[in-house]
Symmetry: C2
Subunit: 349 residues, 2 copies
DNA sequence: GTGAAAGCGCTAACAT
DNA sequence: ATGTTAGCGCTTTCAC
């Protein structure tokens, strides 16, 4: 079924059918109804490719997930506490606003060409990138993309510096400094003086910020910054386990540890348990993300809640605005976080 | 950049450029290389809409997730132990085979028109449906869809009955009867005689099969089937909590409970803990799905592992075959499951 | 082996 | 207010 047939049946021309479909103002109610009736009767849906070719948008947004996980890890994306709720939120909010969402996973910077290709083939009107580390490939994307692009968790200043003048970008972050300082403050208020950090990757904006703020805040409280208490967990299980085991072997434990994501916090808890070290009695632990697992594990995990849903919503809405208005430039957004106190921390007596 | 410009630069016609792009056999190596060089130099990518309009496929597969969760539950999809790894696997396998994946969430049968619309607008070449309950709307989709469609977790006989003669369908299930009977057998081998069931929804194929097999297998072992031990958890947390609380109030507990998904098992464990009932000392629990949470919770959850990754892979591959061969008919696939024994069950002494 | 030309289904500028 | 027409960028017969 094509618009021409609808036109014939309704006794009008293709253009009129098109006008009805696209809600043009200059078509009388009577004609509109007549055409709509035929459209509905025949369940006519305009061919997307034809519309796009004739100048309309695809109404499709591409979501590109940069996974830090190994390609062969079966939980690589959904096991990632970060992505799950975010994808969910993007699909939901996107669908709600009338967009189709195309999801891609990128396991390595060398696969960045997929982003460019998807744009070049005109499959999407806009894109969302999440989880990327800072590297040549992504910088190249930022430097030469003029399609609307939202980047989650990236340094806005870098984007501003790199992006073309006619770029339409939006950067969405959560308040990592606030989140981390809340963690430190909370532990200090519980009497902790020896606080360790399970850091993520500082090639990641949030990873860098959290570590940096940790150090600043520790100093702010006049505490000492022990080098052996800064553990390289790289946001993943394997590195975390190795780092925590090494820490335990060194025989000198901090009284509390802040992990830069929940997965590391949980891995650490498991290693501690294996070694007979009790959480929170012997060591307090704080996570970051507030992933679903945080409420399931025992003791339940005190962690920083990132407003993924809201971030996704914001990203989609900004892109939507950009697509409608054609406005150009960089838009920076920072959403609020919240420390969720559960059972994994204890007062230092 | 369009094919015409490439043609001009390479000193050939548009048709030749097209032949090169589409790997036609009758292009001499020399010409092919000449054209390819220009294509690469200018990073030319053919416009998808134009190709589709001219008769090519979209190379896009639609993934439709029927969520049993409430629209306002922030973990509705990724919190669903079932979907997460599956979406992941579909995107991965799909991308690997050169397909783009469009993800949609359907919260209510009344939103089924989205599936039809996406096909009618010619946005996708094939679709995958997962998590649907049996109802008028989905039956209508099955009855009138002639596009390649894979349905995960659905009664193949029903599909065969409903589908048009020229349909291209594939149904992918896991071996629910085997999974459930393995659970019962295992508990029986541990000496349990009073076994309860946290059932899902029997409008779901797997939900029905698991409950049915549970009853069959209980009888097979000559055990009694106590009505009060069949709890309606509906696959979700809230119903499970209510059902388990009611069970506890009745003062008569089974010595073991099999839940038809991990989420219900975990919810039940939490309620038991709140009431001072120990797992597995007082009651053994088995889940179903082997979701990531199963290894995190304490005691870790004995559960049936569903090969989501393999199921997704199978679905994509079958669709891919169908798209390439244009073969018609119904293809039924059933993948194997495995009982993963962890800590949540104990011998009945 | 390669080019010319028709056509895919739609939108939009133009004409009426 | 509505019809006519010229593309949008590509693939694909059909000639040569």
């Amino acid at each position: 079924m094509k618009s021409e047939e609808i036109a014939k049946i309704a006794g009008v021309s293709r253009s009129t059918v098109s006008r009805v479909i696209n809600n043009y103002s200059n078509v009388p109610e009577e004609t509109r109804e007549k055409v709509m009736k035929v459209i509905q009767e025949y369940h006519y849906e305009p061919n997307t490719s034809a519309r796009v070719l004739a100048g309309k948008g695809t109404d499709t947004i591409g979501l590109f997930l940069f996974s830090v996980h190994d390609k062969r890890n079966p939980f690589r994306v959904y096991g990632n506490s970060y992505f799950g709720p975010f994808v969910d939120a993007v699909v939901d909010t996107g669908n709600y606003k009338g967009y189709y969402i195309m999801v891609h996973t990128i396991y390595d910077p060398s696969e960045c060409w997929r982003i460019r290709q998807t744009f070049s083939q005109k499959r999407i009107d806009a894109g969302i990138i999440i989880g990327t580390e800072r590297n040549k490939e992504i910088e190249a994307i930022i430097s030469d993309t003029t399609y609307p692009l939202a980047i989650v968790d990236y340094d806005p200043d870098e984007v501003k510096k790199l992006m073309p003048k006619d770029a339409k970008m939006v950067v969405v972050n959560s308040d990592d400094r606030k989140g981390m300082s809340a963690c430190v403050d909370y532990l200090v208020s519980l009497g902790h003086k020896q606080i360790g950090l399970l850091e993520g990757r500082d090639t990641t904006y949030s990873g860098f910020l959290r570590k940096d703020e940790f150090q600043k805040r520790i100093r702010h409280h006049g505490l000492s910054l022990e080098k052996e208490f800064i553990l390289k967990g790289e946001f993943i299980r394997s590195s975390t386990e190795a780092a925590v085991k090494k820490l335990i072997k060194a025989k000198k434990l901090p009284t509390a540890i802040i992990a830069c994501n929940d997965q590391m916090a949980i891995s650490a808890m498991e290693v501690f348990k294996q070694h007979g070290i009790r959480v929170p009695d012997d060591v307090s632990i704080i996570g970051y993300d507030d992933s679903p697992a945080a409420t399931v594990i025992r003791p339940s995990l005190t962690t920083v809640r990132i407003p993924f849903f809201h971030m996704a919503q914001t990203a989609i809405e900004s892109l939507s605005d950009i697509l409608e208005s054609k406005e150009t430039g960089l838009q920076t957004l920072q959403l609020d976080v919240e420390l969720v106190i559960r059972e994994s921390c204890k007062k230092r007596t």
